[in-house]
Amino acid sequence: MRITYPHMGNLYIVVRALLLSLGLDVVLPPPTTRRTVELGVRHSPEFACFPFKLNLGNYLEAQENGADTILMAGGVGPCRFGYYAQVQQRILSDLGVDMEMVVLEPPDVSFQEVKDKIRYLVGDLSWWQIFKAVRFAWCKARAVDKVEERLLKLRPRVADPLLLEKLYREALQEIDGAPDRRTVQRVVVDYQQKTGKLKKRHNKPLRIGLVGEIFTVLEPFANYEIEKRLGLLGVEVNRSIWLSVWINEHLFGGLLRVKHQSVHDKDLASPYLNSFVGGHGVETVGCTVGFARRDYDGVIQLAPLTCMPEIVAHSVFPALAKDYDIPLLTFYLDEHSGEAGIQTRLEAFLDLAAARSSKKTCYEKSID
């Protein structure tokens, strides 16, 4: 069994750590490129959301590299993601691609089924060994988030952002290759020291919050590297979704104590959005309020085109903008997005946010 799984940002590092320590043979799909998009789009339904198409492209490219089994998550919510695997499976079999799909459904559907599937994958490994594998993967998830968080914070502040980027890439590679938890932690400490020594600029960057659907927020290819674009334009980016926070909330049931604002921000969605709407709709609204309350200079929402929960969230934005007076920008992403268009819209948005921000400081000074 040569197992593969779709890409989503740096998730591959975490899943690879898990599967390798479970003794599985992992074939990673090549990094997502234009070719992946073309393959995915060619065989996907026209109106399926962007992640669906990228997933399919990932599978096909992984198959070229010798993968024969796909590990995929399921779900039973209002979001379309829950039925991805079944449609993708049908498309693959119609294409004559012989790949088996192992779909992990959430445990509340059938706990026994999840247990059986894990057993099917890992053979007769003991539960203790499985626990150790999960703990190792979790350690890498935390490490990845830490280096990313620092990257986002430092990018607008260092004199040479490209050098910082290089250090970040190296750190990721080392985390990916680290054989044990101690090495992982050492990599993080080293990275923090090295980046701490970088030459700084003395400026006060704009602060922008990034909210939206998990895949488009976490996958730089899907969002046309929006974090990097913003960082190079001198903006400090913070986002509503972090991999380890998400894993803790959704897979461990919030068992571990990972302190993060986004977890509490969710509750701020009411009165603007008073019901769960699937996907990350409530988180998007709640975190936008959270960023506004923390006096960010603007919030950018990312979503795949036709994403239903994000459309609902976007729809209630006017009420929110009225109360908090914060600039909001939404990008719907799909395979047709032109990069120049995105860059122009970002620049315009930042110009406006900056003008507004300086006006606000003047105003506050005059009150003093």
Partner: protein
């Protein structure tokens, strides 16, 4: 003099399934039910203006109807519809619609936005009973009156489902006009066409551009998902490897399977609205099954820009192709390929 409270009901989205229930309930409570008129250009334009361009056509239409009613009623009934069957959602937009309306339409009357949620174990009757009981409380304090109204409303709804199952096409059943009953699979020389689509698309004559009427004029008998019994749909949908957890998606795929597998129909038309989330995946499965089973299938996607001439041409072409197929191909497709249009 006591002023009679006016409750507005937008003639859009699930109005097509539940109007008898809502109407009876609010009428029995002593309210005047104000129904928005059939969708027209002004309503659609208003809807487009007041909502995002990204939402699907039926939701835009809903916004138009809500905006039309806003100045004319004392309350607007816009239930938050989460689940009408256990463990099955409809669409995130149905769950967020009261919030979306509040954020985007000014000067709304008070919304009656009680939640319909069958949860994990509920059933289609109980979830509506809960919702309406809550709704009733905002209109009257008389518990007995609410219960009586509820009983009558559920009975009216039951009667409506029966009329649908007897073969009445939905708009006729809703109007209560005593049409002659149309048998599901007649053996006449007519073309028999299955029309699949969400009720608020296929039965809204404005946004579907009179699709049903057009098909009839082209000499076709039209069968819709609503003419199938719930257990028939359930049975067909059960053949999927994973239970479909969207109520309307399940209706679509269940009826599509029945229409395709029974081989009693000459063709199937699948009407969807642009950007409909669940349909993007469901229609893909249907298209693949239809191809496998050699069933002519035409996908029609509508949005606010649809040109009527384009639809007419495609309908004519589709029906003509089916006629040819019946006449010349004797159900054996020429060249080994099905007469398959997409």
């Amino acid at each position: 003099m006591i002023k009679i409270k006016k409750v507005g009901i937008p003639r859009a989205l699930l109005y097509y399934y539940y109007f008898p229930l809502w109407n009876e309930f609010f009428t029995r409570l002593g309210c005047e039910v104000v129904l928005s008129p059939e969708t027209n250009k002004a309503i659609l334009d208003q809807g487009i203006k007041s909502t995002l361009s990204e939402v699907c056509l039926p939701v835009k239409v809903y916004f138009g109807h809500a905006a039309y009613l806003a100045g004319r009623v004392d309350y607007l009934f816009v239930p938050r519809i989460t689940r009408v069957e256990a463990k099955e959602y409809i669409c995130p937009k149905f769950m967020g619609i009261p919030d979306m309306l509040r954020a985007r339409i000014n000067k709304l009357p008070p919304l009656i936005d009680t939640t319909v949620d069958a949860g994990k174990e509920g059933n289609p009757v109980q979830c509506w009973a809960d919702c309406l009981r809550e709704a009733g409380k905002s209109l009257t304090a008389d518990r007995k009156l609410i219960e009586d109204a509820l009983d009558a409303a559920l009975e009216a709804q039951e009667f409506f489902w029966k009329r649908l199952n007897s073969g009445l096409i939905l708009p006729d059943a809703i109007k209560g006009i005593g049409n002659p009953e149309i048998p599901l699979y007649s053996h006449s020389k007519h073309l028999r066409i299955g029309l699949i689509g969400h009720p608020y698309n296929i039965y809204d004559p404005y946004i579907s551009m009179n699709l049903i009427k057009k098909l009839r004029q082209l000499g076709a008998l039209v069968v819709t998902p609503e003419s199938l019994a719930a257990d028939e749909i359930e049975e067909e949908a059960a053949s999927l490897s994973k239970r479909l957890f969207w109520t309307l998606g399940k209706r679509m795929i269940g009826s599509a399977f029945r229409f395709i597998n029974s081989q009693k129909l000459d063709g199937v038309i699948y009407l969807t609205s642009f950007g409909c989330g669940p349909e993007a995946l469901v229609e893909e499965l249907v298209a693949r099954i239809a191809k496998q089973q050699n069933m002519p299938l035409m996908m029609l996607t509508i949005d606010e820009h649809t040109g009527e001439a384009g639809i007419n041409t495609r309908l004519e072409a589709f029906t003509e192709m089916i006629v040819w197929r019946k006449k010349y191909a004797h159900h054996i497709p020429p060249y080994g390929e099905s007469v398959h249009c997409r």
